[in-house]
């Protein structure tokens, strides 16, 4: 089976740290033939190991006849532009999360790919993370009964001691013109996981957000929300980006069902524990099931399976849109101070 010829658009942090290494792991199935970034040096750096061409203009990647698929790893504000352009050129699209900064953009992306007959996959890496895959399987097997209460907290280290970092003026996440803030940058993961594990659709969300990082010019870098689902379950998340380096409680997931609980809490140094009627189970105690790199390899492999073999995507792009809808409703709630209805929010957008 011939390798899929890939063009990379956006060669910043997530491309360098996640996508390029994952693609290298799959080099027998894909080949990077072109890379583009507004910072041409970043594009050259990404392209060099592959012997690929580098451009400062992403359109040059899309125009190439030898590109089968594009990987879009830009800030979300540019996802619509490059996805619709790539689809119009007949390229399959793998786009980093969050899908878009608005539902209108997301819908335009869906429509463009549908019209062009190309695949669109949104890179929700947690769906491919062992920890969360195991949790989903356990819930599907009914090991804890119907899920009633879910929490996923996320803590990330903030910029300290003058070091540049997320949500500061030196990074696009800190640019109010480009970034919606933590609800999308990190919180989109939580929105997706809550919905995925609840197995239900959100009907209402209430959120508060804050600017907490020194040097932040006004982009909310903290968000907390609570969601009610249409099966009665309640989900909550709190995302903070200003923790000291090395803080132990990086991720904290808890799901409580009518017959047990599943918890995966980094600060306990236990990857995943199931509490069932028969007792506690530690399937891989001490293992780092949250290991990001393998998650990115899995998601790229899934995309290749679809492009090369016609297999259905493990996570349809509509699922990413649903997570976006929840996260945007949380943003609306935080801005207005009122509960956002997911029933009416759809009609308004």
């Amino acid at each position: 089976m011939p390798a899929v010829r890939v063009g990379l658009i956006g060669c910043g942090n997530i491309a360098r740290s996640a996508h390029l290494p994952a693609m290298y792991c799959l080099r027998d199935r894909l080949a990077l033939v072109a890379a583009a970034d507004l910072d041409e040096r970043a594009a050259r750096s990404a392209a060099r190991p592959w012997g690929a061409e580098a451009y400062a203009d992403p359109r040059r990647v899309i125009e190439r006849d030898d590109v089968d698929a594009v990987v879009i790893a830009t800030p979300e504000a540019a996802h619509r532009e490059w996805t619709t352009a790539a689809a119009a050129a007949g390229k399959h699209v793998f786009c980093e999360k969050p899908m878009a900064p608005s539902l209108a953009d997301a819908d335009a992306m869906l429509e463009a790919c549908r019209t062009a007959g190309v695949h669109l996959m949104i890179g929700h890496s947690r769906r491919f993370t062992r920890r969360y895959m195991e949790i989903r399987r356990a819930i599907d097997r009914g090991e804890i009964g119907p899920v009633r209460l879910i929490r996923e907290n996320e803590r990330r280290p903030g910029a300290r001691g003058g070091q540049p970092g997320y949500y500061t003026g030196t990074h696009w996440t800190g640019d109010p013109a480009v970034s919606v803030g933590a609800a999308l940058t990190n919180g989109i993961h939580e929105a997706d996981l809550l919905r995925w594990f609840a197995g239900a659709e959100p009907v209402a969300v209430f959120a508060e957000h804050n600017v907490t990082i020194e040097g932040n010019r006004g982009v909310p870098d903290f968000v907390t929300w609570t969601v009610r689902f249409d099966n009665g379950a309640v989900g909550s998340s709190e995302v903070s980006n200003c923790l000291p380096p090395g803080y132990p409680a990086f991720h904290q997931f808890e799901a409580y069902g009518l017959r047990g609980a599943i918890r995966a809490r980094d600060h306990e140094l236990v990857s995943l524990t199931r509490y069932r009627d028969g007792g506690a189970e530690y399937p891989e105690s001490g293992a780092i099931l949250l290991h990001n790199q393998t998650a990115y390899v899995r998601e790229h492999a899934a995309f290749l399976d679809t492009v090369q073999r016609g297999r259905p995507l493990p996570m349809a792009a509509q699922e990413a849109r649903a997570a976006l809808r929840l996260a945007l409703a949380a943003v609306e709630s935080a801005r207005t101070g009122r509960t956002a209805s997911l029933v009416t929010a759809e009609a308004r957008t």
């Binding site: 903290f222 907390t224 009610r228 309640v234 709190e238 200003c242 923790l243 409680a249 409580y256």
Partner: protein, 338 residues
């Protein structure tokens, strides 16, 4: 038994009266003996208490005279201080009587559950020489005290967020396993809100809450709340009766608190055998002694004209803030205030 020395002379231990039992009674009986500066002179049952056997047994164990008449203990002219361990309405009634008699009163949370009760406490304290101290299990635990010290010292920098969770075992009923189920906020919410109020002097400006019966108990067993304060501190509070029995030490419940500031973060985390406080870069601090020891220390300090470690001298204001916060949560969840 003698107390701390004053001017080279030993100070006699402070004779106190105790009213009520509640969840702190067993710990009080267990830990009272080593206390050098406090002597339990009388121990009475709570107002309206029907079963006196348990408290009688505890009083007998520590050789404290048991008394059926709580009011007589509250007004005993020989006693300078009264520790009220009653729960629910009995606490405010006993505390009001003792305050009216000019006592220094420590009332364990909840000292009052309704605004009218707080008003009566304020009236009783204002009309005489009475002083009210109040506080709950979390605030007076070693970990809670240390966390509050750090928060108060401003080492954390400006506080951004406070995450606080109490989880109890499924089907449990707090300290009353034989009693009819109560809403989980009544069991665990007061202690948690008492800690929140102790952590910030700010006022809530926006409250959102879910209060639900999610786990089949038929009464509200889950409360999830988000509170924005007027200094932009955001508190996320979760109280649920959701722990399956296979979780280690589930019967003890779990307390988890995380206070994130601009410079540092304090985390009290549940462990298998202890509640620990984790502050980045420092060692874990185990939960070593009973909160009632801290309560007694504060009561003794206030009775001698000083200030304790955890309870501020204006307990009425603190109790009022806790009651108002609880009412705001109830209203936000579409339920009537108490």
């Amino acid at each position: 038994m003698t107390g701390p020395e004053s001017g080279g002379r030993p100070v006699p231990p402070l004779a106190i009266g105790v009213i009520g039992a509640g969840r702190h009674a067993a710990a009080l009986a267990e830990h009272q003996a080593p206390l050098a500066d406090v002597r339990i002179a009388r121990w009475a049952a709570s107002p309206g208490a029907a079963d006196l056997s348990a408290i009688r047994e505890l009083a007998t164990r520590i050789e404290a005279p048991f008394d059926r008449d709580w009011d007589a203990v509250a007004r005993d002219p020989e006693l300078r201080a009264v520790l009220v361990l009653s729960e629910a309405a009995g606490a405010s009634v006993a505390a009001e009587a003792a305050l009216g008699a000019g006592k220094v009163v420590f009332a364990a949370v909840p000292a009052a559950t309704r605004a009218e009760e707080v008003n009566r406490l304020a009236g009783a304290a204002g009309g005489g020489r009475g002083v009210l101290l109040a506080g709950g299990t979390i605030r007076h635990s070693p970990a809670g005290r240390e966390a509050l010290r750090l928060i108060g010292s401003e080492e954390l920098g400006p506080l951004h967020s406070l995450f606080a969770s109490v989880k109890l075992p499924v089907g449990s009923n707090g300290e009353r396993p034989a009693a009819a189920p109560r809403p989980v906020l009544e069991d665990a919410g007061w202690d948690l809100l008492d800690f929140v109020v102790a952590a910030t002097a700010a006022q809530p400006v926006r409250v959102h809450a879910h209060i639900d019966a999610l786990f089949g108990s038929g009464v509200p067993d889950t409360a999830v709340c988000i509170i924005r304060f007027d200094n932009d501190l955001i508190a996320t509070i979760e109280v649920a009766r959701c722990l399956p029995p296979s979780i280690a030490a589930a019967a003890d419940g779990e307390v988890e608190i995380e206070v994130i500031g601009g410079r540092d973060t304090v985390r009290l985390e549940p462990g298998a055998t202890a509640v620990r406080i984790h502050r980045t870069g420092t060692a874990l601090r185990p939960w070593l002694d009973a909160p009632v020891i801290s309560m007694l220390d504060d009561l003794a300090a206030a009775s001698r004209g000083g200030q304790g470690a955890a309870a501020p001298p204006d307990g009425v204001t603190e109790v009022r803030r806790v009651v108002e916060l609880m009412d705001a949560i109830r209203v936000a969840a579409g339920r009537p205030p108490a």
